[in-house]
């Protein structure tokens, strides 16, 4: 049946680059200009934990047992497992999809799943490998056996699965995940970035961990043909893909660091997609009717973070005044062209029953801010704001607006430009205010408010903030299986961290924008991920 979408896509497909031996494979190839392919120069999900990694990994390369609806609301959907059920509070059993082929042609079985979550690939030997005392003595990933895991991989794996006891095969296509402690988030953890499945034989065949990490053998619709670190990544169709024949013959991600160069390449026809488009460039691109900018909010919120050890911020009323001084809508309208939203605090719709729809960020109320400052006896003493130059989209502009908004309330915040995160976290210089963004890797508040602001989260680990009641509730949220109590605990944590004793304040939801030719039939997902599976590219 010919659908309207097919007709729309036809002229676009006709003009896309074609192989010289097109008789063999008529599918188009595309080139996507991105700012960065991979920060770590690897394609291993446990090493490259970043937004840019998400873009090239999902849903082209890596797949998990429980997938996500990338073109919907990112809710959990069957992935490499077709169904799953709870055996008890500590155990989840999953039925594997049959007939799934890895890029090397092997069929995926329970053994591959067990291997993917095993010591050899994920958790290491159990001992953090010490350095040899010199800066240049070790080559992580190229140890004596050639497959020694870099320590940061092990650390990330333990963060993702802090209490995983074992993964056991039940039969060729059934596995059980057993946790040491009761955990209602196991299904969420299975769906998250990092819990993806790889080929046991593919790992064994690689000469070293680094070789593996640059050409992982997975189940996705595209497989790695060539990876040139800092330059490009070329994926080619995996025609044995369980979800049908991929619509593209080849996808090539090229690193184009300058935004002007990405846009120029798109306009000149060299790239079919240009990613990481700043909001202020959208109108300029769309003035040309042949192009459009897609995208929007992603599972990531921009925050202003407080260090309550700073003398001026010890009094929670000053921090509360700062949260009330921010006209968030003005930031969204002026810097984001209205193309993002102000979320309901540090939570996301896809939390499902844990989502508090009646919660909101502190309202913009200058009178309340001034009242709190009077009560706190704040007299305009300077408050330092460590600022990176546009690490986040619109970061510097947002900071300048924030400083003026705080000034309007009578708060004297002074920007101190720094160059990197190490300088932001340095204890030698006064710390008070900084920027951050938080994601929710799976559909439960444990993935964000606990992991990022709880006792083991970054904010407390770097010594910016702590709160006894909040920490007790973090533990409850992680271990309780009483869903009603967990919901109440989460609500209370929001009250503490966003209102009573602010650890942070949410500014807006982050967004990402991708420019493309208007006549290319493709839909962006509400995430960094770019979906080129069958059904989402003109076929």
């Amino acid at each position: 049946m010919i659908r309207r979408r097919h007709l729309l896509a036809a002229p676009a497909l006709a003009t896309l680059p074609r192989p010289s031996l097109a008789q063999a494979d008529q599918r188009p190839s595309i080139t996507i200009a991105v700012q960065k392919v991979s920060n770590s120069n690897t394609l291993e999900v446990l090493r490259e934990q970043s937004n840019v990694g998400e873009r090239v990994f999902y849903s082209s390369l890596w797949e998990g047992l429980i997938g996500r609806n990338w073109l919907g609301a990112l809710e959990s959907v069957p992935g490499l497992a077709t169904e799953w059920r709870r055996i008890d509070d500590r155990t989840v059993e999953l039925k594997l999809r049959e007939g799934v082929r890895f890029h090397n042609g092997d069929e995926m079985t329970a053994e591959d799943v067990v291997f993917s979550f095993g010591r050899e690939r994920m958790f290491g030997s159990g001992d953090a490998a010490p350095g040899a005392g010199t800066l240049f003595a070790r080559i992580p990933g190229q140890g004596p056996q050639g497959k020694e895991l870099p320590p940061e991989v092990v650390a990330v794996a333990r963060r993702i699965w802090p209490a995983l006891e074992r993964v056991e095969p039940v039969d060729r296509h059934t596995v059980r995940f057993v946790n040491r402690t009761p955990d209602v988030t196991m299904e969420g953890r299975l769906a998250r970035y990092g819990s993806d499945i790889c080929s046991r034989r593919g790992f064994a065949d690689a000469a070293s961990w680094l070789d593996w990490a640059r050409k992982p053998v997975t189940t996705g619709p595209y497989m790695v043909a060539e990876f040139r670190p800092d330059v490009s990544l070329t994926l080619v169709a995996h025609d044995q893909y369980w979800g049908g024949r991929p619509p593209l013959r080849q996808i090539r991600f090229v690193e184009v660091p300058e935004v002007a160069s990405r846009i120029n390449g798109l306009l000149s026809g060299e790239y079919q997609f240009a990613c990481d488009i700043p909001p202020d460039q959208i109108a300029g691109i769309e003035r040309n009717r042949a192009f459009e900018v897609q995208g929007g909010t992603i599972l990531n919120h921009r925050l202003t973070v407080f260090d309550k050890n700073h003398p001026q911020l010890r009094d929670a009323r000053v921090r509360r005044a700062m949260t009330h001084s921010i006209d968030r809508q003005a930031i969204v309208d002026s810097l984001w062209a209205g193309r993002t939203v102000i979320p309901k605090g540090l939570q996301w719709d896809y939390y499902g029953e844990m989502f508090h729809a009646d919660w909101s960020v502190p309202r913009f109320d200058l009178a309340e801010a001034r009242r709190l400052l009077r009560e706190a006896n704040y007299r305009g003493e300077p408050i330092p704001y460590c600022l990176l130059n546009n690490y986040y989209t619109n970061q510097t502009g947002t900071a300048q607006i924030l400083v003026e908004m705080w000034r309007a309330a009578g708060i004297n915040v002074q920007i101190q430009m720094v160059e990197n995160w190490a300088q932001v976290f340095a204890r030698e210089t006064p710390r008070a205010v900084r920027d951050w963004s938080n994601s929710a890797p799976f559909n439960d508040p444990v993935s964000s408010i606990v992991n990022q602001h709880g006792p083991n989260g970054q904010q407390q680990q770097v010594g910016e903030w702590t709160n006894d009641e909040f920490n007790r509730l973090s533990g409850e949220l992680e271990t309780s299986t009483d869903r009603a109590r967990r919901r109440i605990a989460f609500r209370r944590m929001l009250e503490i961290a966003e209102r009573e004793d602010p650890a942070f304040t949410v500014l807006h939801q982050n967004a990402t924008f991708t420019a493309k030719r208007r006549d290319v039939a493709w839909k962006a997902s509400p995430a960094f991920a770019m979906d080129f599976r069958p059904g989402n590219f003109g076929s």
């Binding site: 920060n39 953090a128 800066l135 240049f136 070790r138 320590p151 160069s261 190490a422 083991n456």
Partner: protein
């Protein structure tokens, strides 16, 4: 001559060790590579594990001494992002950079020197004014602006050339032209100034008064004497062949040493940064050495001075 070369080599070694030390201190004092490479959202335990694995938890002087000792043994270290030998990472990028900078150097010399000579020989003429206006424009317009203008014209509007990347020789045209035009403008201005100064000297008038044909005066007397400042500038240009295209490589997404340096500095990937700096320092020192030797060839007075000093 041997003593001359030996003293230059000793000075070069001192320069290089100072570059290495300075780069180490600046890079290590301005940020923790573990935090930078692992990113803002990395779990603290992952950052700590990375730090321990690479010895970044050692006192800075221990790290420095280890590094310096390794260099003396010929080990330039490994990339913390990559795990590969820094020298391998850098050397595999050098051909790409030279593919831009060598043709650009040819443009600079082939365009800049004749333009400067022509302008000097036709001083205050319309041609001189035009050459100098173009040279000043080429000299003052930043390379990223010129690059983007060329892309807008030749890639976006006309569609004749690709806007970036490294797939074919056509991809090199715009970055080479961008690099070449700016350098040619510099050379044109220096050559013109040098020529004008020499043309005003008494020996030029004497040669002309003796009836030597003007072409012979220019080729035999003016050009060799005007060559010294020009050769100095060319020496600097040769010295920057390795890392002289940082901005242009970024604008044109050209995977050369310049882009590697930008990424490595951003990540505080010490071994890679220092490997690039070492190469740049060595190239610069070598080109200066060659320039010094050329001075002697170009100007007999300098040869005599060197002999007297010896």
């Amino acid at each position: 001559m041997l003593r001359f070369v030996a003293s230059r080599i000793a000075r070069a070694a001192l320069t290089i060790s100072m570059v290495v030390t300075f780069a180490f201190i600046v890079l290590r004092m301005s940020g923790d590579p573990a935090q930078i490479i692992m990113g803002a959202d990395a779990p603290p335990e992952a950052v700590d594990a990375f730090r321990t694995a690479w010895g970044l938890d050692e006192p800075i002087w221990v790290q420095y001494l280890s590094y310096f000792w390794a260099i003396l043994q010929g080990d330039l270290g490994r990339s913390m992002r990559d795990g590969r030998d820094a020298i391998v990472l850098v050397t595999e990028r050098i051909p790409a950079t030279l593919a831009l900078t060598l043709p650009a150097l040819a443009i600079k010399i082939g365009l800049g020197i004749p333009a400067g000579i022509y302008a000097a020989l036709h001083r205050n003429s319309l041609a001189d004014r035009i050459v100098m206006v173009v040279a000043v424009a080429g000299f003052t317009v930043p390379s990223f602006v010129l690059g983007l203008l060329l892309v807008l014209l030749f890639a976006v509007q006309l569609g004749w050339l690709p806007s970036g990347g490294q797939e074919s020789w056509r991809h090199a045209i715009l970055p080479v032209v961008t690099l070449g035009l700016g350098g040619a403008a510099v050379l044109a201005r220096f050559t013109r100034s040098a020529m004008l100064e020499v043309l005003g000297q008494p020996f030029i008038r004497t040669a002309s008064a003796k009836g030597v044909p003007w072409r012979a005066v220019v080729v035999g007397h003016a050009l060799p004497n005007a060559a010294i400042p020009t050769v100095t500038i060319i020496g600097f240009m040769v010295g920057s062949l390795i890392a002289g295209a940082v901005v242009v490589e970024s604008v044109f997404s050209w995977p050369g040493v310049g882009r590697l340096l930008v990424v490595a500095v951003g990540n505080r990937d010490l071994a890679v940064v220092q490997c690039v700096l070492l190469l740049v320092a060595v190239t610069m020192v070598c080109s200066n050495l060659i320039v010094d030797l050329l001075y002697g060839l170009l100007d007999p007075r300098l040869r005599g001075a060197a002999r007297k000093a010896a």
